[in-house]
Structures are given as structure tokens and as C-alpha cells.
Amino acid sequence: MTALLTQAHDVDFGVTLLFTGLLVAMILCLAFEEKIHAKKSVIVGLFAVISLLLGTAFHLLPFEPIVIRDHEIHLPVFIPGIDWNVIAIILGSSLFVDVTSKSGLFTWIAIKLTKASHGDPVRLLVLYGFMTVVFSAVLNNVTAMIIVGSLTAVSLEKLGRKDKLLGFLLIEGLLTNVGGLLTLISSVPNIIVGTKANISFLDFFLVASPYVLVMTIVTIWMGAKFFRIQGLKTGEERARARELVGAFDENDGIESKFFFWFGAVMLLAFVGVIASASVLPWIKELGMGYVAMSFGLIMLLRYKAVADRFYQAVDWDLLGFFAALFVVINVMEHAQVLHLIGDGLAKIIDLGPTTGAGLVLGTAAVASSVTDNIPLAAMLAQILGENEAIAGDPDSPFWWSVIFGANLGGNLTPIGSASTLVAVTIIHKHELSLSFARFVRTALPYAVVQLFFATVYVLLFIG
């Protein structure tokens, strides 16, 4: 439908430049979101309003009715431009995760792992590190950071090791973006690029998992070294730490055993159905958005009388941001802005699958380190989708360059991804000092190693 609405038409170059300026301004505003004290949805919403108005004034937008099976449908011009499948995945998943977390399942897992560490800092770091990656992959990286970060703060406080909190939270923040690479639904750039490239859930997992495993180990090892996180030495220390973490009761948050097990089964079923959505009859037609919304709704049955509480908890800022972003990108397509950027990108793509893909990865990483990786991923996915050689090839290294670059670039700065921002917020909540510059200085070695290995991995093993 989007393609239908974005047929190439003649646009004055000056008009294209005007809209390019608008896009740059929007990206800058998103980069300085914290400084201008405005939510993403408001920033992008405002740009959507201006873009639509100017797009109409310059006669760029198609106001014709949409014809589906001989039926004319009259929709506002900004509605068809929105990728409703992505919106449905995000809304459904967030409802599903929110309700499932009420079962006590995630806190149960988190506390079980804490107890399994016996309070030893190194074991705690390893277990929390892997938990962060798995939670980022199965839930989403922001929720993963919230769960693991808050548990880290509480357990280190209990163990009397708050001096290590900064290191733990920073490593976990960096690992959310590594874990965000594991599956197609682990991060929004994955969903946008993966669905555009027609990469199946299973293929995505098979390609990404070796890299994620190796980088998780490397990141944890580097973290333990840099932050001097060492194991307990004496038997007395070990006994005391074991006793302290033993005081956690993993069953405390479980209100109903039935709902706990129901949540566990539904979580496995959710991952299973999402993983096989591309091959399951009917489901493959309905798409992952349908799956996410269905699972969210089934979980809500437990709280049917108070479902409105969960609607209130939905991140409407994020959803509004997406909807508005798709509108802006759609207008930019009509204004030939993406075509203009695509021409520039084509020069990089023409450098071939090695140099070109490497450059795309690096560019995507740098760009997503200073601004939101979602518009970047959406824009690049749209541009790559219009390249005939790449569009039909889910194994093209260019898709993976965007995926790796957009995810890992978030580790270069504290504003590079929502989950590192959450990590920094928790750090500040506990009155630990971490400036923008110190974050960059501290995270740089990890990000460089991760990006270097990602480039090597994409160039050597993908495509």
C-alpha cells in the first residue's frame, strides 16, 4: 500500500531540499530531546503536522481513494503511510509483557538467578549479563534493562557492594543492545528492517545468535576486568553473601500459582508462534502484529475488569512516535527526500558487499549513536527496499549492516538507545556520577570491540 502511495513523481529540487531540511531538523530535535524537554511523540508529531501541511501545499500527497478488490476506501492521507504491523507488534508485545510480568514470572527468574550466584560478584555479573541478553531478546531491551537494572540495584545494596553498581549497570546497558540483536522482535530496528527484508524469525536468530553469544562473553569479561569485579575470597565472605541473597523470596511476587504457570506457558507459546509465524497456516497471512495483539489480549483476560490499568501503562509516547514517524517518512518519500539520500547511499552500496556493507554498518552505528536508531532504521530500510538488487535478497549483508549498526551504535553514547538511557537513569537515581563524556569514555572500548567484530562477522559470514 505504501508503494502505491509513493509512486515517483516530479518534485522540484528546491522542494526536496526544503523537506530534507525538515528531516534534518527533526533528527536534531530527537538528538537533543533531553535538552528541549519534549517527548519523542510530540517532536515527531509536530514535524508530521508540518510535513503533511507542506506536502499538501506543494501537491505532493495523493488524496485519491485507495482501491482494494474493487472497493474504494477513503482514508485520511496520513493513515496508509503508517506501518500498522509494526505498531501492532509493539502494542501487543508491550501489553503481553506488562501483563505477564504481573504473574511474577520475570521476578521469579531474576531472583532465582540471584540466589544461584550465591552473592559472588563475578557469578552475579555473569548471570545478570546473560539474563539481560535473554530478556532483551525475548521481551524488549527497555523492559530488560528496567527489570535487571532494578534488581541489580537492590541486590548490590543488600550485598553491601554499591560501589560496583555503576559497573554492573553500564555493562547491562551495553548488553541490552547486544541482546537486542538476538531475534527479529528484540528491537524495533530489527522489526522494521527484518520485516522489510523478509527475514524470517528463525533465520534472523540463526544468523545473529553466534555473534550475540560471543559478544556477551567478551563484554562481561571486559566489564569484570575494567570495573575490577572480583570473586569472593574467604569462606566467611562466601557464607555471608550466600545468606544475604538467600533472604530473597522468589515466590513473594507470585499472587497466583496458576497465573504464574499460565504466564510461563504463554511466554513460551508467544516465542514459539512468533518464531514460526512465517510458516504457520493463517498466521503467516495475519502477520506478527496479529500474534502479538492476540497474546496481549489473552493475557488481559486475567485482568479483564481492570484492563484499563494496563492501557494506561502502555508507552503511548513510543507508539505516537512511531505513527508520526511513519507519516513523516511517507511524506519524505513523496518529496523525493529518501530518493536523494538513496542516491548518496547508492554510491556506498556500489562499493560492493564488502566495503559498501562495512561503510553502511559504520555509518549506521555513528548515526544511531547521536540520534534515535528507529527513524534511521526506518529510513534506511525504505531506501534499501527500493534497491532492486537488495530488496529481493534477505541474505544481503546490507540489511544486516543496518541491523548491527543501528543496534550497536546505541552503545557509543548514553542517548544512543532507549535502554542505555534507562541504565543511565538508574545510575543517576542511585546518585552515582556519570556524565555524557564519562559514559562515552567508558563505553567506547566495548562499543569499538563490538562494532569491529560485527563488521568482521557481517563481511565474513553473511551474504
Binding site: T107, I146, S150, V154, E243, F248
Partner: protein
């Protein structure tokens, strides 16, 4: 970022205070009286019977000393003598060297100072001259009640209470939340539009009750496994504390009440304890 706080709350709630049994050793008991030597001896004999529990584990392991009325003339004298004895437990009564025991409005200057200045717990028995002790009290300690407005994590209170509970006796671990304070806070919350008052009332009350309940469960688990052979019973409630405690003591025919007196923020006796110690004159009190 409210979700970070939400999850931190979940994890904090899951982190529970665990009770550790560390039964206090009582080797020296010092009776502080204002009697002459003969009456003091009789007083000592009566209390040997009452406190048989402290020798139940290790018979003949406790030394009993007595300070008689002619051994001290003022508080400084008394404190000096107590310091010289270094007792593990002081045993005395209200209004030493005074007849103010006839008016139930204070503890008397000696006891006031002893509870705060002496390093050891003070066991206060009903005044021997008053004759108002409850019939079940002062004969044994098979019903002991630990009282506080903050039981969670107070191992010391539980340990002393368990130590004084006679074999096969009952130990009530009680936590009475101050209803007046609770209602005051809820009334304040009722004036804050961003907080749902009913939700706050329900959640705060549930959490206030849950913490001591969980802790008592922990105490019960440990004490049931110990060789003390006592039954641990929980009482967690909300109410007007003085009234509630008076009723609990009557209902359960308590032989000994155990409570904290030290307050790290003030030199005087712990807020709840003073009125209780003044008013509950008919049963023995162990003041920690």
C-alpha cells in the same frame, strides 16, 4: 521511569529480613532493691522461682547478687555499684526509695536512669508493696509477649523473648501498627490528587502487615527447629497501641512482656515503652 521504581519495589519486597537465633547468655543476675538484707533475700527467693527459666538450660550456672537499700544513697552510687557487678540482667521494681508507687504516673527516678544508663536489660517486676500483680504473673514465664511497633528484623527482641519463655511455653511475637499515625498519613494522601487514596490505603496496610508477618514466619521456622521447645504465635494488627496491648495482655494472660527501651535518636526511653511501662504495673516487664 516509574517502572524502575515499580520493579525495585517488587525486589525490595522480596528481600526479607531473616531471623537468626542467638540466645543471650545470662550468667549474673543483679537484684536492685531498696529493702534491708532480710527482705531482699525473700524478694530474691521469690524471683528465683519466677525466673526458673534462666537456669533451665544450664542449671546452677547463674550467680544471683543483691543490692540492698543501705548500699546506695543516690543514683550515682547505684550506677557505680551496678557497673562494678557487670550483670547480664538487672531485676528491680518501680519507685526505688520512694512511695510514689502509690500513684501510677511514673517509673521513679532510679528506674528511669537505670533503663537508659545500665548496659544490661532491666526486668521490672510489680512493686512488692503494691500487691497488684495479676494472679498468673510472677509465678512462671510460660506466656511471654514481645511487643514493638517495628518487629521486622529485631532479632535481639525475639532472642531475649525466646530466652525467657519457659519450656513448652508460648511466645507471642506482636506488632501493632499505630492506627492514629496510619490514618493521619492516609488523610494526607487523600489530599494529593495524583495518589489514589483507596489504593494507597489498601497497599500500604497490606505491606505494613506483611513485613512483620513474614519475619515472624522466619522466627517461627528457626525457633521450631531449635531445642527451646516453645510455641511461637504471631499477632500482627493495627490499633491504638496502648489499648491494644492492654487487651492482648489480658486476653492471653501474659506472664512477661518484653520490649525495647533504647532509642538511637533520643536519650529518654523509647516512645511507646514509657507509657506502657508506667501503666502496665500488674505484670513483669523486660526492658531491653
Amino acid at each position: 521511569m516509574s517502572k524502575v521504581d515499580q520493579f525495585e519495589s517488587v525486589f525490595r519486597a522480596a528481600s526479607k529480613a531473616v531471623y537468626h537465633l542467638d540466645a543471650p547468655r545470662i550468667r549474673k543476675v543483679l537484684l536492685v532493691t531498696d529493702f534491708d538484707a532480710k527482705t531482699a533475700e525473700h524478694f530474691s527467693y521469690e524471683n528465683h522461682q519466677f525466673l526458673a527459666v534462666i537456669e533451665a538450660i544450664e542449671p546452677d550456672s547463674v550467680t544471683w547478687d543483691t543490692i540492698t537499700g543501705d548500699e546506695y544513697a543516690n543514683i550515682a552510687d547505684l550506677l557505680e555499684r551496678v557497673e562494678r557487678h557487670k550483670p547480664d540482667l538487672l531485676l528491680t521494681y518501680r519507685h526505688l526509695k520512694s512511695d510514689a508507687w502509690k500513684w501510677p504516673f511514673s517509673l521513679g527516678e532510679y528506674l528511669d536512669v537505670l533503663t537508659q544508663a545500665a548496659g544490661s536489660p532491666v526486668l521490672v517486676v510489680p512493686h512488692p508493696s503494691e500487691g497488684g500483680a495479676m494472679p498468673h504473673a510472677v509465678s512462671d514465664t510460660d506466656v511471654v509477649m514481645a511487643i514493638t511497633d517495628h518487629l521486622t528484623g529485631d532479632d535481639q527482641l525475639v532472642n531475649w523473648s525466646a530466652r525467657f519463655t519457659a519450656p513448652n511455653g508460648r511466645l507471642f511475637l506482636t506488632h501493632v501498627e499505630n492506627e492514629t499515625v496510619f490514618e493521619h498519613y492516609i488523610a494526607t494522601i487523600g489530599k494529593i490528587p495524583s495518589i489514589d487514596t483507596d489504593d494507597a490505603r489498601e497497599s500500604i496496610f497490606a505491606q505494613l502487615m506483611k513485613e512483620p508477618t513474614d519475619y515472624i514466619e522466619s522466627c517461627k521456622g528457626v525457633l521450631d527447629q531449635s531445642d527451646l521447645a516453645i510455641e511461637v504465635l504471631p499477632i500482627v494488627t493495627i490499633g491504638h497501641r496502648l489499648e491494644t496491648y492492654k487487651k492482648l495482655i489480658e486476653d492471653h494472660e501474659v506472664d512477661l512482656l518484653v520490649m525495647n527501651t533504647k532509642d538511637e535518636y533520643q536519650a529518654a526511653m523509647h516512645g511507646l515503652t514509657y507509657p506502657l511501662a508506667v501503666e502496665l504495673r500488674s505484670i513483669p516487664l523486660l526492658l531491653l
